[in-house]
C-alpha cells in the first residue's frame, strides 16, 4: 500500500504533473499540520475552479477583453504555482502569450487544454491523497526518489 502511494507520487512527478513546489509543501507538513498538503491542494482546487469559471464566463461573453483575461490568467498561474501544478502552469503561460498576441483562437484552444489538465490533476491528486491517507501518514511525507 505504501509502496503504491510512493509510486503514484513518483509518477506524478515523472509525468510532469507536479514539480518541486509539491515537495516543498510536503516538507512543510508536520505534526501540527499532518494533512497540510492535502489541505492546500483542496484549497487550490476550490479557488482555481472559481477562477476557471470567471474565465469561462469572460470567454463566453465573446467580448475578448485580453487585458482582463490576462489578468485572470495571471491569477490562475500564481495559484497553480502554489501546489506545483506544472502542466497547468504551462497552459497558463501559453494562454497569456495568446492573449498578448490577441489570438482569440489560441486562447480558446489553450483554455480548453488547461481545463483538461486541471481536471486530470485534480483526479490524480484526489486519488493520491486518498491512498496516502489509507496508507498512513509516514508515507506521504517521504520524498520521491
Amino acid at each position: 500500500m505504501q509502496r503504491q502511494v510512493a509510486l503514484i507520487k513518483q509518477s506524478l512527478f515523472d509525468q510532469g504533473y507536479l514539480d518541486d513546489q509539491f515537495m516543498e509543501l510536503e516538507e512543510l507538513q508536520d505534526d501540527a499540520n499532518p494533512n497540510f498538503v492535502e489541505e492546500v491542494a483542496t484549497l487550490y482546487f476550490k479557488d482555481s475552479a472559481r477562477l476557471i469559471n470567471n474565465i469561462d464566463q469572460a470567454l463566453e461573453r465573446g467580448s475578448f477583453d485580453f487585458n482582463r483575461l490576462d489578468s485572470y490568467m495571471h491569477q490562475f498561474k500564481g495559484s497553480s504555482t502554489s501546489i506545483g501544478a506544472s502542466k497547468v502552469k504551462t497552459e497558463c503561460t501559453m494562454f497569456r502569450e495568446y492573449c498578448r498576441a490577441g489570438n482569440t483562437e489560441g486562447c480558446l484552444r489553450t483554455f480548453q487544454q488547461l481545463k483538461k489538465e486541471h481536471a486530470t490533476l485534480r483526479k490524480k491528486l484526489e486519488h493520491y491523497f486518498q491512498l496516502a491517507r489509507q496508507a498512513g501518514p509516514k508515507e506521504t511525507a517521504r520524498r520521491p526518489k
Binding site: Q21, L28, D30, K77, S82
Partner: protein
C-alpha cells in the same frame, strides 16, 4: 528542512488575494518561527497596519490584488509606516520588478517562494532599522570603523568632549586587537573616527551660526572657526551634511516636542558597576547602548526610498520613556555631561522573562561618543534608575541645539531572559567597520544571535556572516548585554517586539560565563 537563523517572533503581515498562497506562506513563515498575520485584501492590510502602528515588523505583499494594486499598498506602507515591504509575484518581468524597487520594495520574490527566501526577510527589517538610525543620527561620525568602544575602563573616552583621543583621525586602530581577545577578526581593522562629542558639536553649531545661514557655511569655514586642530575638513563636511539632514527633517513639520532624552546619565561612570552587575544579574538585564551611526551602514543595500525623511521621523516625537518599554522612543541625549554612559533610553523595563515579546527598542539616538550610550543595566533597580531619568530635554521646540542634535543612537535590545540561565541577551553592539557589508555584519555579530544549528546558516546572505556564536566571542569583550533596537520614531515600526530571545533561532543562550567575560571587557564595538 534547512535550518538557519531566524529571529523568532518577527511579526510579519502577509497580504495576498490567493487563499492557497496565503495558507502556504503562513505555514512557511510559522516554520521560520515568525509571527504571522494573513490578510486577503490590501485595504484590510492597511487597516491592520494603521490600527497597530507598531504591530508589525515587515509586510509581504502580492503585486496583483483585486482591490488595490500591490504597488499602491507598498507606497502607503512605506510612507505612512515606513515598514519594509517585500513584493511577491508569479511574474518576474523586469519592468515589474523595477517598479517594485522604485516604489520602495525591499525585495521582490517570485512565486513559488522558497523557504530560504523567507528565512532571510528579517535582514530587511534590520537593514531598515539600521538605515533609519544612520539617517537620523547625523553627527556621530561613525562612518565605518570601530569608532567607539565602550569599555569599562575606557568608557570615559567615549564620553567626554575632550575625548579627543578617539578623535585622532585616521588613526589606524585595530579595535579588535586592542580590546578583543583572540577572537578578534583581524581583517576588520578600523579607523578611528571623529567622535562628535557634545562639546565638539557645540563648537560646530556655534561656528555654523556664526557664519550665518548654514547653507552658506562651508566646511572649510566652519573648520576654521571651530579651531579644533585635529579635525579635518572632511570630518566637518560629513557632519555638516548630517546636520543639514537633521535640520531639514525637523522642518518637516514634525512637532518638536521635548526630546525625552534617552540619555541616561549615569553620573559616576557606572560602567563597571553596570557592566558587572549586568551580567551577573540573572534574568532581566537590559543594556542599552547606543550604536554609532556607522552601525547603520548598510545603507547602500537598503531600499532606495529616502527613509530618512519620512521615517526617522522625529526623533523628537515620542521621546519619553514609558516605564514599560514596549515602544521605542527616541532617546535623545540631553545635553549631558560626558559621562560615559548615556543611557539611551533605558527603556528597559526589566521584562518578564516569560514575556513573549519584550520590546526591542530601536533607538535612534545619535551616538555621542561622549555619551557612550551604553547603559548596562542588569539589575532591575538599575533600570528603574534609568527610567527615572527624565527624558525631557529642555530643548523643545524648534531650536536646534547641539544637544538635541547629538543623539546617541541607542540600540538597546531588551534583554529577555530566554530559556538559558543567563539573563544576558548577549547582544553586543559592534561597531562597524568602514565598509558597508561589514557594518551590518558587525551589528549582527554584536547581536549574539544564536543560530539554531550553525552560525553559518546556508540560508543567510553571505554578507551577514554570523560567525559569532556562543562559544566564539569575537565580541568577547563587549559589555553590551542588551541590545535594543529602539525605534525612535513613532511611526517607524520597531523591532520592538523582537526581544532578544526572539533573535535566537533556538533557545539556547550562551553561558553566563561567557557573558561575564564580555562584560568585563566593556562594550566593544569592533
Amino acid at each position: 528542512m534547512e535550518k538557519g537563523f531566524t529571529p523568532v517572533g518577527l511579526r510579519v503581515l502577509v497580504v495576498d488575494d490567493d487563499p492557497t498562497w496565503l495558507k502556504i506562506l503562513e505555514k512557511m513563515l510559522k516554520k521560520c518561527s515568525y509571527e504571522v498575520t494573513t490578510c486577503g485584501l490590501a485595504r484590510e492590510a492597511l487597516r491592520l497596519l494603521r490600527e497597530r502602528k507598531d504591530g508589525y515588523d515587515i509586510v509581504i505583499s502580492d503585486v496583483n490584488m483585486p482591490d488595490m494594486d500591490g504597488f499602491k499598498l507598498l507606497e502607503h506602507v512605506g510612507l505612512e509606516l515606513d515598514l519594509p515591504v517585500i513584493m511577491m509575484s508569479v511574474d518576474g518581468e523586469t519592468s515589474r520588478v523595477m517598479k517594485g524597487v522604485q516604489h520602495g520594495a525591499c525585495d521582490y520574490l517570485l512565486k513559488p517562494i522558497r523557504m530560504k527566501e523567507l528565512k532571510i526577510i528579517w535582514q530587511h527589517v534590520l537593514r531598515k532599522k539600521l538605515q533609519e538610525v544612520k539617517d537620523i543620527e547625523g553627527s556621530c561620525c561613525y562612518e565605518g570603523g570601530a569608532d567607539w568602544i565602550i569599555r569599562n575602563d575606557e568608557a570615559h573616552f567615549l564620553g567626554g568632549g575632550e575625548d579627543v583621543s578617539f578623535g585622532k583621525r585616521r588613526k589606524d586602530f585595530d579595535f579588535e586587537k586592542k580590546l578583543l581577545q583572540d577572537e578578534s577578526d583581524p581583517s576588520s581593522s578600523k579607523k578611528a573616527r571623529v567622535v562628535w562629542s557634545f562639546e565638539l558639536h557645540q563648537k560646530f553649531v556655534n561656528a555654523v551660526n556664526q557664519i550665518g545661514c548654514d547653507h552658506k557655511a562651508g566646511p572649510k569655514k566652519i573648520l576654521d572657526l571651530m579651531n579644533v586642530p585635529w579635525l579635518t575638513r572632511e570630518n566637518v563636511a560629513s557632519h555638516l551634511q548630517k546636520y543639514r539632514l537633521y535640520l531639514s527633517r525637523l522642518e518637516k513639520g514634525k512637532e518638536l516636542k521635548c526630546y525625552s532624552g534617552g540619555a541616561k546619565n549615569i553620573d559616576s561612570p557606572p560602567k563597571d558597576a553596570d557592566l558587572n552587575s549586568g551580567h551577573q544579574s540573572p534574568g532581566k538585564s537590559s543594556y542599552a547602548f547606543s550604536v554609532g551611526s556607522s552601525l547603520l551602514h548598510k545603507a547602500t543595500e537598503t531600499d532606495p526610498k529616502p527613509l530618512a525623511s519620512a521615517s526617522v521621523s522625529d526623533p523628537n516625537s515620542d521621546v519619553h520613556m514609558p516605564p514599560k518599554a514596549k515602544k521605542t522612543r527616541i532617546g535623545f541625549d540631553p545635553p549631558l555631561s560626558s559621562t560615559a554612559f548615556d543611557s539611551l533610553l533605558p527603556w528597559n523595563d526589566v521584562p518578564d522573562p516569560l514575556e513573549s515579546k519584550p520590546p526591542i527598542l530601536y533607538e535612534n539616538n545619535f551616538l555621542q561618543p561622549s555619551q557612550s550610550s551604553y547603559v548596562s543595566n542588569s539589575a532591575p533597580s538599575l533600570m528603574e534608575e534609568e527610567m527615572k531619568l527624565s527624558y525631557e530635554t529642555p530643548a523643545g521646540g524648534t531650536c536646534v541645539n547641539a544637544d538635541e542634535f547629538l543623539k546617541s543612537p541607542t540600540v538597546t535590545l531588551q534583554d529577555l531572559d530566554l530559556s538559558a540561565p543567563s539573563a544576558i541577551s548577549c547582544m553586543k553592539l559592534q561597531e562597524f567597520s568602514s565598509n558597508v557589508t561589514n557594518s551590518t555584519e558587525s551589528i549582527l555579530r554584536s547581536l549574539s544571535w544564536e543560530f539554531p544549528e550553525s552560525h553559518h546558516s546556508g540560508s543567510l546572505d553571505t554578507d551577514l556572516d554570523f560567525s559569532w556564536l556562543q562559544g566564539e566571542h569575537f565580541l568577547a569583550n563587549t559589555g553590551l548585554q542588551n541590545f535594543q533596537f529602539q525605534d525612535y520614531s513613532s511611526s517607524t515600526s520597531l523591532l520592538s517586539e523582537l526581544p532578544p530571545h526572539l533573535w535566537f533561532g533556538n533557545e539556547r543562550l550562551p553561558d553566563p560565563d561567557e557573558y561575564s567575560l564580555l562584560v568585563d571587557q566593556g562594550l566593544f564595538i569592533s
